[in-house]
C-alpha cells in the first residue's frame, strides 16, 4: 500500500454486566433458556415504560472517565427508529446529539510506537434481542422460519466511538485490545468477544499519502474478534486501494466481514441506508450527573492498564510480562501483592504470566478457583533465591500450590524437591566424582572447560538432582585451581 494511507475509526459496543437490564428489572445473564429473562418493558409490550438503571449509568461513567472523556452534566436519550424483528419496540432507546461522555482519548502502543486515539463519544443504549434463523445455514435469506430470543433485549449497551485516528489494521487491533483491557480493569463487563459482549464496527477509507481530505468510507459491521477486526480492515484497505487504482470510485456502503471467505461483502448501499428519525425519548427525563457524582466515579477508578504498564516498567518488569499483567487485572493484583510480600519481581513475573496463566487456561479456571496466595509466591521466591529450590522444581511446586496441596515448603518437602544446601554434603559428592573421573578432572585442570558440564552432571546425578548446579560448578572450578 505504498503511496496510500488508511484512515480508520471504530465503533465499539460493550454489554455491561449489571444486575438488571437498562430499563427494567430483568436480570442480565448469558446463556439462559430463550425468553426467560423478559418482562413487559424489554418485550416492548403496549403501555410498558422504561426506567433507567443507575448501575448502568455508573458503568458508562466509569468507562467514559477511564477514557479521559468530558462528562455531560445533563444528557438525554433519543429514540432511534428502525424496523427489525429482534427490536421489540421497533425503536432503540439510544443517545444522539447529547451523549453522556464525549471528547476523550486512549493511548495505544504498537511495537513501541505510541499514538493517541481520540474518543469522539461514549453513549448509552439498550441492546436488541437475537434472531435465530431456522434452516439454510442460519442466514436470514432462505430460512424456513425465524425465532427471536429477547433475553438480550434491553441489556445495557455502551457505544464507544473513536475519531478516525487509526492508520493501520495493527493499530486498530491494538486499540480494540486496549479497550478490552480497560473495560476489564473497570470490572463493568466481562468483554467476552466470543459471546458478543464486545463487538466492533469499523469505518475505513484510504487516501493518497499526504492528502488532507478523507476518501469515501465504507463501514464493516459486527466484527466479533480482534483477529477478525485486523483482517477485515486489512482486506478492506486492500480492496479500496484496488478499486481506486483501477480508476473506479469507492462506493459508500455497509459491508459484512466473512471470516470464512477472508473478505468483506456488500450488506447494503448508502441509498438503502436507514433514516433513523431520531427524536427525544419522551418517556424519559434528562439524566443529571452532577460534579460530585463525577468526582466519586473518578476517585473509585482502579489502576488502568496504561498506568500499570508504566509502573511495571519502573519496577524493572520486562515489556512483555508487563503487557500480560496489564491485560489481566486479577493476576496483576496477585503479582503486586506477592511483590509487596517480598517476592522477587522477575521470578514472580515469570510464574504468574507463565505457569499460572497456562494452568488457568488448561483447566478453564478463574484465579479465585485456585489455592495460590501472594505469600506463597514470596515463599517460593525466597526458596529459589536462597538456593533451596531449583528454578525447574519451583514450577512444579507452584503447580502443587495451585492444586491446593499446601504451601511451597510443604509441597517441596512432600515431593522431595529441596536442594542440598549443606556445603559438606556437596563437597563430598564432588570429591567422589573427581575420584571416579580423574581423566576428565585432569582436562579441566588443563583449562578444558568443555568437560565442566559433564562433571557437574555427574555430581547432580550423584545427589539425585538436589544440588545447586551453580554451586557445584563453582566448587569444581576452584578445585581445578581456576
Amino acid at each position: 500500500m505504498s503511496g496510500w494511507e488508511a484512515v480508520v475509526g471504530i465503533e465499539t459496543h460493550v454489554e455491561l454486566q449489571t444486575a438488571s437490564k437498562m430499563f427494567c428489572g430483568c436480570p442480565v445473564v448469558f446463556g439462559a433458556e430463550p425468553n426467560t429473562t423478559t418482562c413487559p418493558v424489554c418485550l416492548g409490550l403496549p403501555g410498558a415504560m422504561p426506567v433507567p438503571n443507575e448501575e448502568a449509568i455508573e458503568g458508562i461513567l466509569r468507562i467514559g472517565t477511564a477514557l479521559d472523556c468530558e462528562i455531560a452534566e445533563h444528557s438525554v436519550f433519543h429514540r432511534k427508529n428502525y424496523f427489525y424483528p429482534d427490536l421489540p419496540k421497533n425503536y432503540q432507546i439510544s443517545q444522539y446529539d447529547v451523549p453522556i461522555c464525549h471528547d476523550g482519548s486512549v493511548e495505544i502502543d504498537v511495537d513501541g510506537d505510541a499514538s493517541v486515539i481520540g474518543i469522539t463519544r461514549v453513549h448509552m443504549e439498550e441492546d436488541t434481542g437475537k434472531s435465530i434463523h431456522v434452516g439454510e445455514g442460519g442466514r436470514i435469506h432462505g430460512a424456513e422460519h425465524s425465532l427471536v430470543d429477547f433475553n438480550r433485549s434491553g441489556v445495557p449497551l455502551v457505544e464507544i466511538v473513536s475519531e478516525p485516528d487509526l492508520r493501520s489494521p495493527e493499530q486498530a487491533r491494538e486499540y480494540g485490545a486496549e479497550l478490552q483491557r480497560i473495560v476489564r480493569a473497570l470490572g463493568v463487563s466481562d468483554v467476552r468477544l466470543e459471546e458478543g459482549s464486545m463487538r466492533f464496527d469499523a469505518n475505513i477509507s484510504v487516501r493518497r499519502a499526504g492528502d488532507v481530505e478523507y476518501g469515501t468510507r465504507t463501514e464493516v459491521k459486527n466484527v466479533n474478534s480482534l483477529r477478525s477486526l485486523q483482517r477485515a480492515i486489512a482486506h478492506e484497505i486492500e480492496r479500496q486501494i484496488g478499486v481506486l487504482e483501477s480508476g473506479e470510485p469507492v462506493v459508500q456502503e455497509t459491508r459484512h466481514w466473512s471470516e470464512d471467505l477472508g473478505a468483506t461483502t456488500l450488506m447494503r448501499s448508502k441509498e438503502e441506508s436507514e433514516d433513523y428519525r431520531y427524536f427525544l425519548e419522551p418517556d424519559l427525563v434528562p439524566m443529571r450527573v452532577d460534579a460530585s457524582w463525577q468526582a466519586r466515579v473518578r476517585e473509585a477508578l482502579p489502576e488502568l492498564p496504561a498506568a500499570r504498564r508504566a509502573r511495571y516498567k519502573g519496577l524493572g518488569v520486562d515489556r512483555r510480562t508487563a503487557a500480560v499483567l496489564a491485560a489481566a487485572p486479577d493476576i496483576a493484583d496477585l503479582f503486586d501483592a506477592a511483590v509487596s510480600a517480598g517476592a522477587d519481581v522477575r521470578l514472580s513475573g515469570i510464574w504468574v504470566t507463565g505457569e499460572l496463566v497456562a494452568y488457568l487456561r488448561a483447566g478453564d479456571r478463574a484465579l479465585d478457583e485456585t489455592a495460590v496466595e501472594p505469600d506463597h509466591l514470596a515463599e517460593l521466591s525466597a526458596m529459589v533465591t536462597g538456593g533451596r529450590l531449583s528454578a525447574t522444581a519451583a514450577k512444579e511446586v507452584l503447580g502443587g500450590v495451585l492444586d491446593g496441596d499446601g504451601s511451597p515448603g510443604e509441597v517441596a518437602a512432600a515431593r522431595d524437591l529441596l536442594q542440598i544446601t549443606d556445603a559438606g554434603a556437596i563437597e563430598s559428592a564432588v570429591a567422589a566424582v573427581i575420584g571416579e573421573h580423574a581423566d576428565a578432572f585432569a582436562k579441566l585442570r588443563e583449562g578444558d572447560e568443555k568437560v565442566l558440564g559433564f562433571l557437574v552432571g555427574q555430581v547432580m546425578r550423584a545427589t539425585g538432582g538436589k544440588a545447586d548446579p551453580r554451586q557445584v560448578s563453582e566448587l569444581l572450578r576452584s578445585k581445578a585451581g581456576g
Binding site: 413487559p40 403501555g47 427508529n81 424483528p85 421489540p88
Partner: protein, 441 residues
C-alpha cells in the same frame, strides 16, 4: 361482577379500602387490564390480553373500585368523535344522531348514560375534556406526570395524561386522588407529595383573578357556546371573581404544532405493532412483508394518516422545518401561559368550539375534525391541568362545556374554580338515553 361481590363482602366486613370502595368504574380501552382484553379499539390488538395491570387499574383495584368495563375510543385515541373505532362508533346519549366527542367518547357516554358512575379517560389533545363537554359531564386532564402513564398504551407520550370523567367535580377529585401520585414505573411521573385536591371546593372565587383567553373566545366558536360561556363569566364576576381578558398569541399555532408533535411521537409508539410478538399477524413471504401486511390490515385510516404524517415530520431533511419548528412553537406557547399566569390565577375558555356534531359530519374532513380540539390542545402542549364543566345546553338540547385551566400542579385552584362553576351553572339536565335511577347518587 366478582369485583362487586368482593366489594360487598368488604363492606359487610367493615373494611375500608378507600373513597371508591365498591364504586363501578369504566376504563378507556387503552389502559392495560390484566386478563381483560385491551384493544385500543384497533384490529391490530384484537384479542390481546395484557399480562399486567396499568398502574391506574392497580390503584383502582387497591382502592376497592370495581372495574365494570372497558370503553370505546377512537383507534389508539386518535380522533375527536369515537367514530374511528374498529368495533364501531359510540353515539351521544343526549342524541344518538350525534357523536359523543373523542377520543374518550366511550367513557364520556358511559358516565353520561349512567352505565358507569365514573370513568377514566386519557387526554392527548383534549380527549377527556372535549367528549366530557359534548356529553354534559365533568372531564379533567391533570398536570402532566401527576398520574402514572405506566400501562396506558401510548399515543403521544409527551402529551398523554390519564384523568377522571365524572358527573360531579367532587367525584373527579375523589377519582383523581385514588390514581394520582409517584409511580416508580413511570420515569416522567411527578415525584413530589400529592396534595389533597378537594380542600377548597367550597372556597368560592371571591378575589380570584380569572383570565378569558381572547384567541379561544372569538372566531370559530359557535355563538350559542360563546353565549353560555359569557353568561357564566358574568355569574363568576358576580360571585366575586376578577375577570379580565388575556391574549395568548402563540396558541393560534397550537393546532398545527400539535398535529406535528403528536403524529411524530405516535409514529414511533405504534411501530411495535408489527405482528412479531402479539396481536394481529398477517403472514407474508418475508418478515418485512409480514410486518407491512399486518400493519396495513390492522390499522384504520386515521392511524395510518398520522403515522405517515409523523414519519414524514421526523425524516431527514424535514425534521427542522416540521418537528423542530413545532417544538419551538410549543416553547412559545408555554411562555405565553407562564406570562399570563403572572397576572391571573386561572384561564378560561369554551371546552369545545361547538356542541355535539352529527355522526359522519366531519368524518370525511380531517381538518374540521382536528379543529374540535382547538381549545384543549394548548394545555397538553404546556402540560398544565384543565377541566371541562357542563354549564348548559344549546337550542338542540346538547350540552355546553366550560373549560378552566390552571398552572402546573395547581389542581386545588383548578377544582376550586370548577366547583364554583358547577354551583353557578346548577346543571341538572339529563340525557335522553340515561339509564334509570341506578346512578342517582
Amino acid at each position: 361482577m366478582r369485583g362487586a361481590e368482593a366489594a360487598d363482602a368488604a363492606f359487610a366486613a367493615g373494611e375500608v379500602q378507600g373513597p371508591l370502595q365498591g364504586i363501578p368504574v369504566a376504563l378507556k380501552d387503552n389502559m392495560c387490564t390484566r386478563g381483560m382484553p385491551t384493544t385500543c379499539s384497533s384490529k391490530i390488538l384484537d384479542g390481546y390480553e395484557p399480562p399486567y395491570d396499568a398502574t391506574v387499574a392497580a390503584r383502582l383495584r387497591a382502592g376497592g373500585a370495581v372495574i365494570v368495563g372497558k370503553t370505546n375510543l377512537d383507534e389508539f385515541a386518535m380522533g375527536s368523535s369515537t367514530e374511528n373505532s374498529a368495533y364501531g362508533p359510540t353515539f351521544n346519549p343526549w342524541d344518538p344522531a350525534t357523536v359523543p366527542g373523542g377520543s374518550s367518547g366511550g367513557s364520556a357516554a358511559a358516565v353520561a348514560a349512567g352505565t358507569a358512575l365514573v370513568a377514566l379517560g386519557s387526554d392527548t389533545g383534549g380527549s377527556i375534556r372535549q367528549p366530557a363537554s359534548l356529553c354534559g359531564i365533568v372531564g379533567m386532564k391533570p398536570t402532566y406526570g401527576l398520574v402514572s402513564r405506566y400501562g396506558l398504551i401510548a399515543f403521544a407520550s409527551s402529551l398523554d395524561q390519564i384523568g377522571p370523567m365524572t358527573r360531579t367535580v367532587a367525584d373527579a377529585v375523589a377519582l383523581l386522588e385514588t390514581v394520582a401520585g409517584f409511580d416508580p414505573l413511570d420515569a416522567t411521573s411527578y415525584r413530589g407529595e400529592v396534595p389533597s385536591f378537594g380542600r377548597s371546593l367550597e372556597a368560592g372565587v371571591a378575589g380570584l383573578r380569572i383570565g378569558v383567553v381572547t384567541e379561544l373566545t372569538s372566531e370559530g366558536i359557535d355563538s350559542q357556546v360563546l353565549g353560555a360561556v359569557t353568561s357564566m363569566l358574568d355569574d363568576l364576576a358576580e360571585a366575586g371573581a376578577d375577570i379580565s381578558e388575556v391574549s395568548l398569541p402563540s396558541t393560534t399555532y397550537g393546532l398545527p404544532a400539535y398535529y406535528l408533535i403528536a403524529p411524530a411521537e405516535c409514529s414511533a409508539n405504534l411501530a411495535r405493532f408489527d405482528g412479531v410478538r402479539y396481536g394481529l399477524r398477517v403472514e407474508g413471504e418475508t418478515t418485512e412483508e409480514m410486518m407491512a401486511r399486518t400493519r396495513a390490515e390492522g390499522f384504520g385510516p386515521e392511524v395510518v394518516r398520522r403515522v405517515l404524517l409523523g414519519t414524514y415530520a421526523l425524516s431527514a431533511g424535514y425534521y427542522d422545518a416540521f418537528y423542530g419548528r413545532a417544538l419551538r412553537v410549543r416553547t412559545l406557547i408555554r411562555r405565553d401561559f407562564e406570562r399570563a399566569y403572572e397576572d391571573v390565577d386561572v384561564l378560561v375558555s369554551p371546552t369545545s368550539p361547538t356542541t355535539a356534531f352529527a355522526v359522519g359530519e366531519r368524518a370525511a374532513d380531517p381538518l374540521a375534525m382536528y379543529y374540535s380540539d382547538v381549545c384543549t390542545i394548548p394545555s397538553n402542549l404546556t402540560g398544565d391541568p384543565g377541566i371541562s364543566v357542563p354549564i348548559g345546553v344549546d337550542d338542540a338540547g346538547l350540552p355546553i362545556g366550560f373549560q378552566v385551566m390552571a398552572p402546573a400542579l395547581e389542581e386545588e385552584r383548578l377544582f376550586r374554580v370548577a366547583a364554583e362553576v358547577e354551583r353557578l351553572a346548577a346543571f341538572s339536565a339529563r340525557p335522553a338515553l340515561a339509564t334509570s335511577e341506578v346512578v342517582a347518587s
